[in-house]
């Protein structure tokens, strides 16, 4: 090579390179400015999808604020409160050269692929002027999930855990890879709080005021089925939703963005159901799913909202819990089979026992199938981590019997009803009544949830949860308005007696009430009750439910001697469904207060309810407290 060329080459190399670098930098800077200008012109920061992607929400006194609380979610330091600054910073972040990304970190284009996709759609990025980054991990993630559908899964009520009393929703991502009829292998996206305390009181309080972080996580659906169906024995309802391929992709890209951030978890507002709705809105911004909710987002209400959208829900599938599966088998049993099952559960006989062997082969199979469901459920309740949950001897005995128990197609009995068929969770009540002295009008409102006199379609039929139920009475003759009752929290869980499981019923009540057994001009007391009891339903679908309780009770009031009384009561009662719409309740109790102001008296109640529609019912109540009687006729509207 001639030295001259080398010199010339070097010369050019020296002066050319800085120029290219410089001009490249300038091109980039110019293009960024151009895009930012365009974005401003098009007012992209005001677009609904931008607000959905960044979780912006108009807040009282605070203006536009993002619900996301992990600051890595934003590219601009003002991102949490300023959609425009976030959008400009996001555009800018897309231009960061790959060499400036710390090893092990993802490029912003890969961290925020939904934002990238949407901004690219709006601004049509020029790949010559904006380097498009390859996102290897994201690509493999998307490829593995390969969405073909999305399903909202509702886990029914779980009364043994305050966090699950209202049910739970998660989103299943149905994959092309797993194929139809292979739902267990799909993934589920779940939003939940990450609690930092074991203390029940703190746990409830922190959940209410939003001091747990909430995070999205993704699990194989079968782990969720094991958890809800088998461990907690909750029925699942799967709502298969209709989305286009593009919408599903957008939703997943957005889910990817959410994986790294957290939100303050609010038990009643920004909860699992709220965030699942957000995901669906990102998929299809035309859906306005969160709009109807103000005070609280109750899982059942979100399911109703989905059902109300035209053509969104393709199909509803029931997935029975392990105990529902067992009870389904028990319903088909004759008395002999039931008796043998009971004895097996008690450990009195094994599959080798002649009493069992004397059953026909299909009967034996039916009994063992139910027995194995029972053992599976029981073993999951134990803390042991042994591998075998059902003794091999039982499994082996079952394996020697034919596969099908009979020729009939097994239509599954539904032990819970579709949550979207239930009444609204808000209730407004208007009543007119009379006591010994005068007539009165009654006005009441509560935001949540269900009481045992309401129609129980879509709800757990043996329990009630009432929260913040305020009732005012206007007494017509004395022309006074009084707070008659304010139930802060009232929970009743009647667990009907089952020969295989003995689970006590319990109830808990915290309220401001009127001292009804006294004539103190409708004076109020603060009252707390906790009790345990037994309840009985002749069979799963019987219209009759009997119960009895023994309660501990305390009341505080200015009008009581020593300002309080402490005691208890014994109550017996029954609910009876005369028809689908007509329910009757009869109850009586004997109250004994031994500390503070002591007193003993009886109470008696007769209530009847007639449901005019899903959301409207009429009730007549006759109550007697000691010597004071009252009667009320009311209309209750759920919404």
């Amino acid at each position: 090579m001639q030295p001259i060329y080398l010199v010339v080459g070097l010369f050019f190399w020296f002066c050319f390179l800085p120029v290219t670098a410089h001009s490249q930098h300038k091109v980039t800077a110019d293009y960024l400015a151009e895009l930012q200008q365009q974005a401003k012109q098009k007012k992209l920061a005001d677009e609904r999808l931008w607000h959905l992607l960044l979780k912006y929400d108009k807040r009282l006194f605070r203006g536009m604020t993002s619900e996301a609380d992990g600051m890595e979610f934003f590219n601009s330091p003002q991102g949490k409160i300023d959609p425009t600054s976030e959008l400009l910073a996001t555009l800018s972040s897309f231009f960061v050269p790959l060499t400036e990304i710390t090893k092990g970190k993802e490029h912003p284009q890969c961290n925020f692929p939904a934002r990238f996709k949407w901004l690219n759609q709006q601004l049509a990025f020029d790949p010559n002027r904006l380097e498009i980054q390859a996102c290897d991990r994201l690509d493999r993630w998307m490829k593995a999930l390969d969405p073909v559908g999305a399903t909202l899964v509702f886990a029914s009520y779980f009364m043994d855990n305050p966090a699950s009393m209202f049910g739970h929703t998660l989103l299943r991502i149905d994959s092309r890879r797993t194929g139809s009829g292979n739902n267990l292998m799909n993934y589920g996206a779940n939003y939940a709080a990450v609690p930092d305390t074991e203390n029940a009181f703190l746990y409830a309080l922190k959940g209410l005021i939003g001091s747990f972080p909430g995070r999205f996580a993704i699990f194989p659906y079968y782990t969720k089925v094991q958890e809800y169906n088998n461990l907690e024995s909750r029925d699942l309802w799967e709502y298969e939703l209709k989305f286009t391929q593009d919408q599903l992709n957008m939703m997943l890209l957005h889910l990817w963005e959410l994986g790294g951030t957290y939100f303050d978890y609010f038990y009643f507002q920004e909860n699992c159901s709220y965030h699942v709705l957000s995901l669906l809105e990102v998929a299809n911004p035309d859906l306005r799913l969160k709009d109807p909710f103000s005070f609280s987002v109750i899982p059942t209400d979100t399911v109703k909202t989905l059902m109300a959208q035209d053509g969104l829900v393709k199909q509803v599938v029931y997935r029975p819990s392990v105990l529902s599966q067992m009870n389904h088998k028990r319903l088909r049993m004759v008395d002999d089979e039931k008796r043998i099952l009971r004895r097996m559960v008690k450990g009195e006989i094994s599959p080798e026992n002649p009493a069992f062997k004397s059953l026909s082969a299909p009967s034996q199979a039916l009994v063992l199938n139910a027995y194995m469901d029972y053992l599976q459920y029981q073993s999951m309740q134990e803390k042991s981590t042994g591998n075998i949950k059902i003794p091999r001897s039982v499994l082996l005995a079952r394996s020697r019997l034919p596969a099908t128990t009979n020729g009939l197609a097994d239509t599954i009995t539904r032990f819970s009803s579709r949550p979207d068929h239930g009444h609204g969770t808000d209730r407004f009540r208007l009543g007119i009544g009379h006591n010994a002295r005068e007539p009165f009008l009654e006005f009441a409102y509560r935001p949540v949830y269900h009481d045992l006199m309401a129609k129980d379609v879509g709800y757990d039929k043996n329990s009630e949860i009432i929260f913040l139920d305020f009732k005012l009475r206007y007494y017509l003759e004395s022309d006074r308005v009084r707070l008659d009752q304010a139930k802060i929290l009232s929970i009743t869980a009647l667990n009907p007696y089952d020969a295989l499981f003995t689970k006590p019923s319990w109830r808990l009540d915290l309220e401001v009430d009127t001292l009804r057994d006294r004539n103190c001009n409708y004076c109020n007391s603060v009252k707390g009750t906790y009790g345990r009891g037994i309840s009985y339903r002749p069979d799963f679908f019987s219209p009759l439910l009997l119960y009895s309780f023994a309660d501990l009770k305390t009341e505080f009031s200015e009008h009581l001697k020593q300002k309080f009384r402490l005691g208890g009561d014994a109550e017996v009662g029954m609910y009876y469904d005369v028809t689908e719409n007509l329910r009757i309740k009869l109850a009586g109790s004997y109250q004994i207060f031994v500390l503070g102001e002591s007193k003993r008296f009886f109470t008696a109640h007769f209530i009847t309810r007639y449901a005019l529609s899903r959301d409207l019912d009429l009730r007549i109540e006759l109550n007697r407290y000691d010597h004071n009687n009252e009667g009320i006729f009311s209309a209750n509207y759920f919404f």
């Binding site: 890595e72 993802e106 939940a192 999951m380 075998i388 499994l395 394996s399 596969a403």
Partner: protein, 169 residues
């Protein structure tokens, strides 16, 4: 015992039912917590629900600390059978003894057995149950290796299903 301490005792009684709930495990449900498969009874620890906190390198959702997950936060393809069998072991052996069930056909799918052969698959595992679950201490790994043994020997399933894992990758 003074009056106030009696009141305190009475008041504390009302807190009992709540603490009873919390005693179990880290909850699940709308919200207040869902440490899936964490300290729960009878559940394994294949999945930890915590996300990797370093955002740039975030592994979405299931991260692991186990070798079952890929760096994309999902289960590695070549571990799918193993993890499925482990997580659903009780359901699986129950359905094997019954000769049919959803978990069983999912397993058949994981072995690439066509839907038409699932009934045969069910009949085979039921007939060979004795050797598939050899003892009360048997585990999911043994179950799968026994199953693969039986599949290989089976006149039709050996051909219609894909037994070797490499076929998946």
């Amino acid at each position: 015992m003074g009056r106030y301490s009696r009141i305190a005792v009475a008041a504390s009684l009302f807190l009992l039912p709540v603490s009873v709930f919390a005693a179990g495990y880290g909850a699940a449900g709308c919200g207040l917590g869902s440490e899936l498969m964490g300290p729960k009874p009878g559940a394994s620890q294949v999945f930890a629900s915590t996300t990797n906190s370093t955002f740039g390198n975030q592994t979405f959702g299931i991260t692991s600390g186990t070798s079952n997950c890929g760096d994309h936060g999902l289960i590695s393809m070549n571990k799918e059978r193993e993890v499925f069998a482990q997580e659903n072991y009780t359901s699986l052996v129950k359905e094997m003894a019954q000769g049919k069930g959803e978990n069983l056909s999912t397993l058949a799918n994981l072995y690439q057995c066509p839907a038409a052969s699932h009934q045969e698959f069910g009949a085979m595992v039921q007939a060979k149950f004795d050797s598939l679950v050899a003892s009360d201490q048997a585990n999911s790994t043994e179950l799968l290796s026994q199953l693969e043994n039986q599949l290989t020997r089976h006149p039709t399933l050996a051909k219609s299903c894909d037994i070797k894992l490499s076929a998946l990758n």
